[in-house]
Every structure is written in C-alpha cells, then in structure tokens.
C-alpha cells in the first residue's frame, strides 16, 4: 500500500481538488481528534483525581453551645479514634477556620467572638469508614456533630468528569465518521470524474478489484499523509498549551502525560483505515452500477 504511484495508481489521472480535499479533510479531522483525545484523557485523569482525593476526606461540623463545644469536640475525636477506616482526625484551629472564611468575611473576622461551628477534618484509610454507622455513633455521643463525607458534591463532579471523558471518546468517533463521509464523497466525485477511465478499463478487461485498487490506494495514501500532518500539528498545539498548575483549574490540565504522547500517533493509522474502507465501499458500490 505504501508503494507510491505504481502502475495501478497511474491509470487514474491526478485530480487536484479531490487530492487536496482528502488530505485536507483527513488533516483537519485528525488535528481535532488529537484535541478530543487529549480532552478524553484529561477528563479521565480529572475524574480519578477527584474520586481519589474526595473519597479520602470528610468533614465533621459541630454546632453546639459555647460551653459544650470543647466537650463535644473531644467526644467526636474519641469516636473517630475508635472508628475503623479513619486514619487521622483533627480539629481545625481558629486560624485555619479564619483563613477558610476570609474570602467571604475578610481577614479581620473575630472568629473567637462568633458562634461558629467547629470543623474536624477526617482522613480515611484503605476502603474508608462506614459513614452511616459513624453518623449514628456521633448522634449518640455528640448531638451537635454533623458528618459531611463530601458525597453530595463529589458524586456530581465525578459524574461530570466521566461524561466529559465520554464526550471526548464520542467526539473521536464522530470525527472518524465525518472523515469517512467526506472521503466517501471525494471518492464518489473522483469516480464520477473518471467515468471514461473506468469505461475504458472495463472495455479492455479490467476487473472491478483492479479499478477499485487504483482509487483505494490513492485515497488511503492521501488520507495517511494529511492525517500524519494533522497529528503532528495537533500534538504541537497540545504541547504548547499552558502547563497543569495546581491552581490552574481543569483547562490547564488538557494534554498528554508520559506514554499518552504515543496515543495520537495511532490516529493517522486509524484515518488511513477509515479512508481505505470508505473508498473501497464507494468504489465497489459505484462500479456495480456500471456495465
């Protein structure tokens, strides 16, 4: 297939616009597919990170009268110390709570004068703890304590990241389908433009496979060339995106890591396969309708 301009190829005249159209389409589609792949991989990493980070932590909020606050805090810590699956538990200091509230109330907030609830940060170990069992024990030992295992907002985020990953994968499939459709149209245009060539070849005894091979080889090689360039430019573009900073949010994490950089190299091969199948189907379909 890689042999360029063999005898079979030359029986079909060079048609500039379909050649350009096929290569351009394949290039653009693979360029976009590189981004879709990067999006899918980044979304996957994000989902795993959120799942892992959030599933390891929980917060207990103690809302009690000031004179009972210390007692209930200690009771909660005692409960946590004997709860299987809890690796660490500690009460946030006033300074830490003030920092948490500073974005909303300013740095000068007199935390000690306000009836703020006490927050206890819980880090789980292994498979984590039994949240429902812990809630029941807390309600008995410290009625003012409320366990927030982050499940309410963790799950939607994980689902959203999963959907984003699925969106990337579906996008790659759609891009492949769109490329197949475009190449099929280009192949049909080339077959129509070469009706005389096909008639002459049939007249002198060429079989359909011989005629189709000329078109299939040409379109596959064009698609491979365009897709290769599209993959190179796509990878360069992804490489030039800003790096993934801790505070950078999701978009700065869009890219490839480690072995993932090899994944886009498979896209030109996939594009060539798509072009091969699309052109072959188009060619045989068209040839069947000719005498």
């Amino acid at each position: 297939m890689a042999r360029k301009d063999g005898p079979t190829d030359r029986i079909v005249p060079q048609t500039g616009h379909t050649a350009w159209l096929t290569s351009f389409t394949a290039g653009v589609m693979v360029f976009l597919a590189v981004f879709a792949l990067a999006l899918s991989l980044a979304a996957g990493r994000l989902a795993e990170r959120w799942q892992e980070a959030l599933s390891n932590t929980a917060t207990i909020r103690i809302a009690a009268p000031p004179d009972q606050m210390e007692f209930q805090t200690q009771a909660v810590l005692n409960v946590l110390a004997t709860t299987p699956g809890v690796a660490e538990a500690r009460a946030l200091t006033d300074d830490e709570q003030q920092k948490l509230l500073a974005p909303w109330f300013g740095a000068d907030l007199p935390v000690e004068d306000l009836p703020l609830p006490r927050l206890i940060e819980v880090t789980s170990a292994g498979q984590g703890f039994d949240a429902e069992g812990l809630r029941q024990r807390l309600s008995a030992e410290a009625p003012g304590a409320v366990l927030d295992d982050h499940g309410r907002w963790r799950q939607p985020l994980v689902v959203a990241a999963g959907r984003l990953r699925l969106l990337g994968q579906v996008s790659i499939l759609l891009i492949g389908g769109a490329m197949a459709a475009m190449i099929t149209l280009a192949a049909h245009a080339a077959l129509s433009a070469n009706a005389q060539v096909i008639r002459v070849l049939r007249l002198v005894g060429a079989r359909d496979a011989y005629i189709a091979r000329a078109f299939v080889r040409r379109f596959t090689l064009r698609a491979l060339l365009g897709a290769g360039l599209g993959a190179i430019f796509g990878m360069l573009a992804v490489a030039l995106l800003p790096g993934a900073e801790t505070e950078g949010g999701f978009l700065t994490g869009l890219g490839f890591q480690g072995i993932e950089w090899a994944y886009p190299l498979a896209l030109p091969i996939a594009a060539a396969v798509v072009a091969y199948v699309a052109t072959r189907l188009a060619a045989f379909n068209r040839l069947r309708g000719l005498p």
Binding site: P13, Q196, R202, L203, V204, G205, D208
Partner: protein
C-alpha cells in the same frame, strides 16, 4: 452462423432450410450467440428477434443506416448491454448469468474498437495500447509493442498523449489496442470512419490476417468499398439491420 432469413423468403420452409444451410457453420464452437434477442432503450425496441451465432474463425460485416442499432448490437455482443429479452452467450456463458469479473475475463479474449475510440487521456499512447495486457497482468508480453505501433503507422507517436492525436490516429491506436492480446474475437464499430483508403486497406489486411489465424471478426461499417474489397480476400458474410431485425444482406454485396 444462424440468423434471420430475409423477409422475402416468407414462410417457405424449403427456402428457409436452404438459407440456414448456407449460413450455418457446422462443427465449430460458437464464440458469441444471440437468441431471440431484443433490446430497448425506452418503450420502443431498437432491435427485436435477433438471432445470430458467430462461429469461431468466421468473418462478418454488419451494415445498415445510421441509428438502426449497429453499435447497440456490438455492445450486446461484448456484454456492455444486456438484452431486454432473449439470451446472449459469450464463450458458452449466458451474459445474464456472468458475474462482473467473469465478464471482465471474457473481454480479455475480445478486442473491441469503439466508434468514439476512448483512451486514458493522461497516459501516453504506448501505455494505452498496452493496457489490455497490463490489466490482465501480462505486461511482460510487450516485446512487439513498437512493431505493432509501427504497423498501424504510429511508430513515432508512442509517447504522444491521446488528445493530441487526429481522428485517424486514434482509430489506428484503438485497433492496435484491440489486437494486442491476440483476441479470439474482434468487434469493430466503424473502424475506418476516419481513415484514408490506404490505411483502410492496411486495416483490412490486418483483419484478414487475424481471421486466417482463426480469429472471429465482426465489423460494423458503412464503407461498402471496404466490404467489397474484403469479399475478394476472405469469405466474409454481410449482415444488415433492417426493420429492427438482423438479416443477411443481398447478393449485391
């Protein structure tokens, strides 16, 4: 050969038997046979009730006014068209039963010269002439290509592109392409339409030579002089399409 008796014979059984005795070639395998064939491009048939058996080694001319269906008849003979009714057999195979690849293989045993002489315009003349060998995977049998081109008077035009050729040159090139595989049967549609008399005679000599080698020849032509010249050299029979039917031409030819 078997074909429709001239209308003048009517239903006279003796005359019909005599006709069939004269034109039927015994003990030879038919190359192409048409039985009760009709063909219609629209509601009105162009050809009807056509019967003909082309025996191996026979030589026929097909004549008739323009638009009577000579080209259609030839297309039926090499399977480009399939009959509306009736049966066309090529090398013992019913065209309607042949797969596309089988038809392609059968065409490798047939040389066809079209009236419009189509070529692959982007390829040099030599490549075009060699095309039947190339598509058959017999490209290594191209030793005689220059001799063949020289014979049809195109020796200096091997590298020329078809659009640069004159009508006569295109016809000669089409003839060279048709005979390069030494086909069992040669079908030619007005092959001398653009040729001068000398070249027509050379073409006729080639056809006669091929016929003597056992090839079956069928030539559709208006050129009565060519037919008369041929009949002096070979046992050529003349068919005529009249009133949508195929008939034996009169003795004047």
């Amino acid at each position: 050969m078997r074909l429709n008796p001239p209308q003048g014979l009517g239903k006279d059984a003796t005359a019909q038997a005599a006709f069939r005795a004269v034109f039927h070639v015994r003990n030879t395998r038919p190359v192409i046979a048409l039985e009760q064939v009709s063909y219609a491009y629209g509601p009105e048939p162009l050809l009807t009730d056509v019967n003909l058996t082309l025996a191996a080694g026979s030589f026929y001319f097909l004549t008739g006014p323009s638009g009577t269906g000579k080209s259609t008849f030839l297309k039926l003979c090499y399977g480009e068209l399939k009959p509306t009714t009736g049966r066309v057999t090529i090398f013992d195979r019913n065209v309607k039963d042949m797969k596309r690849d089988e038809l392609a293989i059968a065409r490798r045993r047939m040389g066809v010269v079209h009236q419009d002489c189509q070529f692959l315009d982007h390829l040099p003349l030599a490549t075009n002439v060699a095309l039947p060998l190339t598509v058959a995977g017999r490209g290594n049998e191209l030793d005689d290509l220059s001799a063949l081109l020289a014979w049809v008077g195109l020796g200096g035009l091997a590298d020329a592109l078809p659009p640069t050729l004159s009508g006569g040159e295109r016809q000669r090139a089409a003839l060279a392409r048709a005979v390069i595989t030494s086909p069992d049967v040669l079908l030619a549609d007005e092959p001398t339409g653009n040729l001068d008399w000398d070249m027509s005679q050379r073409l006729l000599a080639l056809l006669v030579e091929l016929n003597r080698m056992g090839k079956t020849i069928l030539v559709a032509t208006h050129d009565m002089n060519l037919i008369r010249a041929a009949k002096q050299q070979v046992n050529a029979r003349v068919l005529r399409i009249r009133d949508k039917r195929l008939q034996a031409a009169g003795a004047d030819l």
